[in-house]
Amino acid sequence: MAIEKILKDDASEEKGERARMASFVGAIAITDLVKTTLGPKGMDKILQSTGRGHGVTVTNDGATILKSLHIDNPAAKVLIDISKVQDDEVGDGTTSVVVLAGELLREAEKLVAAKIHPMTIISGYRMAAECARNALSQRVVDNKENAEKFKSDLMKIARTTLSSKILSQDKEHFAQLAVDAVMRLKGSTNLEAIQIIKKPGGSLMDSFLDEGFILDKKIGLGQPKRIENAKILVANTAMDTDKVKIYGARVRVDSMSKVAEIEGAEKEKMREKVQKIIAHGINCFVNRQLIYNFPEELFADAGVLAIEHADFDGIERLALVTGGEIASTFDNPESVKIGHCKLIEEIMIGEDKSIHFSGVEMGQACTIVLRGASHHVLDEAERSLHDALCVLSQTVNDTRVLLGGGWPEMVMAKEVDELARKTPGKKSHAIEAFSRALVAIPTIIADNAGLDSADLVAQLRAAHHKEGCNAGIDVISGSVGDMAELGISESFKVKQAVLLSATEAAEMILRVDEIITCAPRQREDRM
């Protein structure tokens, strides 16, 4: 009799070759989708959301593109996941990691077709990845000791990262911005301290780094617009009706006059609170929560600048820059640390008013104001800058630096090729395939730039035959150039993460020989 059905109705099962084919096809499709964005001459994608308003995003950030896709193929999901992780962990190289994993799978597909067992391919890939990593770590440059040189390394990395983004026209400007911002962090990787404000209008070149802090808020009516030598109290407290928090308390009155009395008491309570706050000897009060009109008026009377509804990040950053602490009770003014800054004023950026704190004590946080023609440009600029900042902050921690422009891939490919020649057995095919996948990256970069990739990559390979060669693809002139002279650098940490996660993902997909898809959960139609 026929084999019983084991799985539920809509669940499907794919086995052996079919399963493998499904995952290869899915993964390669994803790779082909993002690979045109790779490199300085990579193209952007327009993404239109299916949500209300059909919002449009223009980007060439791999992670952003993949995040917005609705994918059904499980293997493709693995690739999207690694891209996301790369974004979280090092911030850049989100496209490269997907492309490399895809190329590894493309090569693996050929090997599987040539009847090599996936497990053999995996062990070959593993050996190759290990060898490639060693090759890279031998060729790194580490300028940790020399601050001057290190700074120029950072500049180079920032320029390289930005050159593939929309900011490439003004990369010099933005590289300087990013490096300055990161240097202020003094080794911390907390990018929260760098605030990015986007204001449409002007051109990208008008973007600037502000050493102080800009809060995107307006100053309350009737309050001073400019304060010198400000003493700032940063608070997180309810300034609406300060409720009694004891559970179950309620007001029960029997006449109108009592209502009025209690209302008076409430007002009195609020007035007292405001008095206490003012007693700190401050002239600026920033609260995370709302400030109602009544206390605001009291503040205005006392000549204190009150800013309400600053979001949580804003509060934290403000506390960080001014050196104050976030207060919620106000009974002992002597021990609360109060933040200081030289000048608070309302400034205009474009058409909007913002509050600008300058001359702050602690220099850790800073603000980058981005200007640009449209929201799309600004969004993309923010993403690009975010990538650059991430890479730089990671590089500050791990100061090893590599050359860019396809140089690391060629170095790795050469070493891996050596290894393939030395390895006996079927594994050597897999190792060779790994090296081919590595070479695919410079090939794609050249292709995207409209160059003759076959010729260029061959030249590059020949150049790399010599020891200690710095050759890479110079996309601008369309030839092989010296990367050290051109000042194209990449962070070792990013490259290593790309290599390892791509290999891990390829391995994971290769190991699969069966895909079981459960029936999609039925969604109830809301009519």
Partner: protein
């Protein structure tokens, strides 16, 4: 559907709406059941052994899991068939009891069912088959006892334990760094093990994962990690020699459970209430400070005001810590969980040498490490890896390895792996079969054949000629009377499993055989399947 008629020729209605139900009976039912069981086993068969492949499972919500852990595959598969559900149960009970060998047990059961089918075709009664299997399984288990070896290990000599864990890990995706992971697992188990009582409480080992980094960065922390950060961003990030107050009461105004009302009808009442509230907050914080705590870990949230007061008094605090984590912290630091502020005393504080906050990656991901605890009996294994699926799979693999190490501490007998134990049992059972009079003899012989299927699958998955390899190993075992020969999956060049250091636990193997036999017996005894037809 069979119908019964009374003397007037009218049909009896025996089952409710019987014409709408499908019914299988007799041999047909048994065959249908067997084929369902076999189908499940066939799915898992390719996952067996170090060269086994993984399965990709897509859940109803679209999440992807990649694994080769038998129990996980079956659990996530949307199984509909009743018999297939039995197989899922089988794998799950092996998981609960032993933790490892969840794939093997299903493959074994599948093989037994396949053999039973042949016997049924020859007209042997299912109960006789079941009895034969039962006898054979007893023989096999006895034989395992016979060939098992004890090996000694102590806190200083962990090598044998590490080797056994490595055998388990080598079939998983993490086999790239099986050695470090095996060492981590063994060390973790040993540090929480009670060697006197031969017991291990695996609850004391916490397995945490965080995406990012690489597998090699996985580490064993002698302490606890909590996926939380300090409640106030400006609290100190590192505390030396922390004295920890572990609270299960919130820093919030009291909420009596009985229904009550506080009526405010005069201005005075309003003001006293307010003052009391302020005092209440102040008291709470002061209590913690008075007993000498330098860190407060709380199961509940804090009010903004309380948070600031804590910050103000220089008392770092962590909020919203889960119950399980709270217990672990209490065990590790030797503190007591305090449900009320009034009950805080200096003796109830936990102690830890170092508490620090560590941030990861470019996003604001922070974790709290509590290390150098007063009582080092609670440990954490912290896994890093390239993507979410990798971490999940590593967690499962580590769980298996931990279970294996625990089983060895409970009972330090091992058998050799690589199919050698199955082959040896098969030879023993085969030999014993000839001595049995009666029909059961056939069943016992079939059982021996079924035992061969595990090494056969191993050989098949490793790309070897299954029948050729198996027969060669079998004859070698008989000729040299040495039960250590198995399948050389990794192409090392020798098939002596003692040399390859491939071990499995004795109880794991015995449990596999017993569980598989039990389930098969149950399936064989079914002769009638009534199921409602689809509607």
């Amino acid at each position: 559907m069979a119908l019964a008629f009374d003397e007037y020729g009218r049909p009896f209605i025996i089952l409710k709406e019987q014409d709408q139900k499908t019914r299988l009976r007799g041999l047909e039912a048994q065959k249908a059941n067997i084929s369902a069981g076999k189908a499940v086993a066939r799915i898992l068969r390719t996952s067996l052994g170090p060269k086994g492949m993984d399965k990709m499972l897509q859940s109803p919500d679209g999440d992807v899991t990649i694994t080769n852990d038998g129990a996980t595959i079956l659990e996530q598969m949307d199984v509909d068939n009743q018999i297939a559900k039995l197989m899922v149960e089988l794998s799950r009970s092996q998981d609960y009891e032993i933790g490892d060998g969840t794939t093997g047990v299903v493959v074994m059961a599948g093989a037994l069912l396949e053999q039973a089918e042949h016997l049924l075709e020859r007209g042997i009664h299912p109960i006789r088959i079941a009895e034969g299997y039962e006898m054979a399984s007893r023989m096999a288990v006895e034989h395992l006892d016979h060939i098992a070896q004890k090996f000694d290990f102590g806190p200083t000599n962990i090598e044998p334990l590490v080797q056994t864990c490595m055998t388990t890990l080598s079939s998983k995706i993490v086999n790239r760094c099986k050695r470090p992971l095996a060492e981590i697992s063994v060390k973790a188990v040993l540090s929480v093990a009670d060697l006197e009582r031969k017991d291990v409480n695996l609850d004391l080992i916490k397995v945490e994962g965080k995406v990012g980094g690489k597998l090699e960065d996985t580490e064993l922390i002698y302490g606890i990690t909590v996926d939380k950060d300090m409640s106030h961003p400006q609290m100190p990030k590192q505390i030396q020699d922390a004295k920890i107050a572990i609270l299960t009461c919130p820093f919030e105004p009291p909420k009596p459970k009985t229904k009550h009302k506080v009526d405010i009808d005069t201005v005075e009442k309003f003001q006293t209430l307010r003052q009391q509230e302020q005092k209440y907050f102040d008291d709470m914080v002061q209590k913690c400070k008075d007993v000498g705590a330098t860190l407060v870990i709380c199961q509940w949230g804090f009010d903004d005001e309380a948070n600031h007061l804590l910050m103000h008094r220089n008392l770092p605090a962590v909020r919203w810590v889960g119950g399980v984590e709270l217990e672990l912290i209490a065990i590790a630091t030797g503190g007591r969980i305090v449900p009320r502020f009034q009950e805080l005393t200096p003796e109830k504080l936990g102690r830890a040498g170092l508490v620090r906050e560590k941030s990861f990656g470019t996003t604001k991901d922070k974790m709290l490490y509590i290390e150098h605890c007063a009582n080092s009996r609670a440990v954490t294994i912290f896994i890093r890896g390239g993507n979410k699926m990798m971490i999940e799979e590593t967690k499962r693999s580590i769980h298996d390895a931990l279970c294996v190490a625990r089983n060895l501490i409970r009972n330090n007998s091992i058998v050799y792996g690589g199919g050698s134990a199955e082959i040896s049992c098969s030879i023993a059972v085969e030999a014993a079969a000839d001595k049995y009079p009666g029909v059961e003899q056939y069943a016992i012989r079939a059982f021996a054949d079924a035992l061969d299927s595990v090494p056969m699958a191993l050989a098949e998955n490793s790309g070897l000629q299954p029948i050729e390899t198996l027969s060669a190993v079998k004859s070698q075992q008989i000729k040299e009377n040495n039960p250590h020969f198995g399948i050389d999956c990794n192409d090392v060049g020798t098939n002596d499993m003692r040399e390859q250091n491939v071990f499995e636990t004795l109880i794991g193997k015995q449990q596999q055989i017993l569980l598989a036999t039990q389930v098969v017996k149950m399936i064989l005894k079914i002769d009638d399947v009534i199921s409602p037809s689809d509607y």
